[in-house]
């Protein structure tokens, strides 16, 4: 009798453990799929969002991305990133964004779950339904046992991560569009941006150009311009949207440093403050473009020139 009771208790514990650990699959949430990073561009238009191809999570499907949660995550990401002026409901926006989930590949077993997601992003103009962008976006994310021990939770986190990366890539693709930018300029009564061929070098960038430049190139591989090669320790600048900067310099005594950056638009200068870290020097610089891809930060005081190149 005692053995029977013990067996029953063990059985109940086992069932409880299995149910508790596997749990029920839960849907990917809008909060975890949202992207908070500000966009590199901001369009003065409204946009409406549609989502298709999502599936509801159930015992049969496992953790998935639902249309409703994906739409909410997209809308939240657009608002937070300020990519568009506003998000409107019901297809009444200046532009319509349709995101279709075409594939969500999930493993069924493993310590690490890698989820692959593919979506189709279509941006159309609200007035005449002209297609502005059509792009397939692929993303993947791996959740490990460090993220969650329970399999169902780990799977949901992998799905959410893949969706979050997908949204980030899609929004970046829209920010990279030139057509919307020209459209925005003509609507404000301004001429389209001059072509690079019209530029003569060297040219000193205006304050507005400096701000736009660092928004376009948030990561810069630079080196200080001393004549002595061994003193030209290369470093990488990473500029966040909050104008915080990080400097990574593998050959320096202090390999990692963070500081602040301010663009003084009226003075056409960019100023860095690295605190006690001496390399590169804290101070204010003029930004001079010497050819299509090369730039120099020239100190307005005694700061040494910092040189770097960017992609065309």
């Amino acid at each position: 009798m005692k053995t029977t009771n013990c067996g029953r208790i063990t059985g109940i514990l086992v069932v409880t453990a299995v149910v508790g650990l596997t749990g029920c699959a839960s849907t990917a949430t809008r909060e975890a799929m949202s992207v908070g990073t500000p966009a590199t561009k901001s369009y003065p238009y409204s946009v409406s969002v549609q989502t298709r191809g999502g599936t509801e999570t159930s015992q049969m499907t496992g953790s998935t991305v639902s249309n409703e949660e994906l739409k909410a995550a997209l809308e939240s990401s657009i608002i937070q990133s300020k990519l568009f002026k506003s998000v409107v409901q019901g297809g009444n926006g200046d532009y319509e964004l349709t995101v279709i989930v075409t594939q969500l590949t999930k493993p069924v077993f493993g310590a690490s779950f890698t989820v692959e997601m593919e979506t189709g992003w279509a941006l159309t103009k609200g007035s005449d339904k002209a297609v502005i962008m059509r792009k397939g976006i692929k993303s993947s994310h791996t959740a490990t046992m460090d993220d969650a021990v329970v399999g169902a939770t780990r799977m949901r986190m992998a799905v959410e991560g893949a969706a979050r990366k997908n949204i980030a890539q899609g929004l970046q693709a829209i920010a990279d569009l030139g057509a919307l930018d020209d459209d925005a300029r003509s609507e404000r009564g301004r001429a389209p941006a001059p072509t690079p061929a019209a530029v003569t070098y060297p040219r000193t960038l205006s304050g507005q150009d400096i701000a736009a430049h660092f928004a376009s190139y948030p990561s810069i591989e630079a080196r200080r311009g001393e004549a002595t090669p061994r003193r030209q320790a290369p470093f990488t600048l990473r500029i966040s949207r909050e104008r915080k900067v990080e400097r990574s310099c593998p050959n320096c005594y202090t390999q990692y440093a963070s500081g602040s950056m301010v663009v003084k638009q009226d003075d056409a200068q960019v100023c860095f403050d690295w605190g006690s870290v001496p390399y590169p020097a804290s101070g204010c610089f003029k930004l001079v473009q010497t050819n299509a891809t090369d730039f120099q930060l020239r100190g307005v005081g005694f700061e040494t020139v910092i040189r770097y190149s960017v992609g065309p």
Binding site: Q103, V108, G120
Partner: protein, 140 residues
């Protein structure tokens, strides 16, 4: 021992079975306007799924080629992902077929069928089901 095995199963698996068939079509796309399609063969496919898809599309009136090399002028590129499992015999667990814009790989339409062992279907039936769902969705 039993506890350890069950705990391992609980942490290593997602815990639930999957069985579904879905399709999505870009509302701005008219699949009927497409004439020539190319089914791009998955290099890992040893089961001739590309041929099954091509044959099924031909019965719907499309001019279809298949192989690893894409011909220069087609209206749509068809890709697929097939996943197989073992349960007494090998069976196709999942098939996803995507009809793409050949210029930029944008997915114009996509269908997916997922059937676990007890509800397994033959590859021909899976291809039929996925394409039927895509064209049914496009006809809405």
């Amino acid at each position: 021992m039993l506890l350890a095995a069950l705990a391992a199963a609980a942490t290593m698996t997602t815990g639930c079975a999957i069985n579904r068939a879905t399709a999505t079509v870009d509302p701005s796309v008219n699949l009927g306007s497409l004439k020539a399609m190319h089914v791009r063969k998955d290099p890992k496919d040893d089961n001739g799924i590309n041929v099954l898809i091509a044959e099924k599309l031909r019965t719907r009136g499309y001019n279809v080629t298949t192989g690893t090399e894409k011909p220069p002028a087609v209206d749509a590129l068809v890709t697929y992902v097939d996943r197989w499992r073992w349960d007494i015999t090998m069976y196709m667990l999942e098939l996803t077929i995507t009809i793409r814009d050949p210029r930029n790989d944008y997915p114009l339409a996509s269908g997916n069928s997922f059937h676990t062992s007890l509800a397994r279907k033959s590859p021909t039936e899976m291809v039929d089901e996925v394409l039927a769902n895509i064209f049914r969705e496009a006809g809405k």
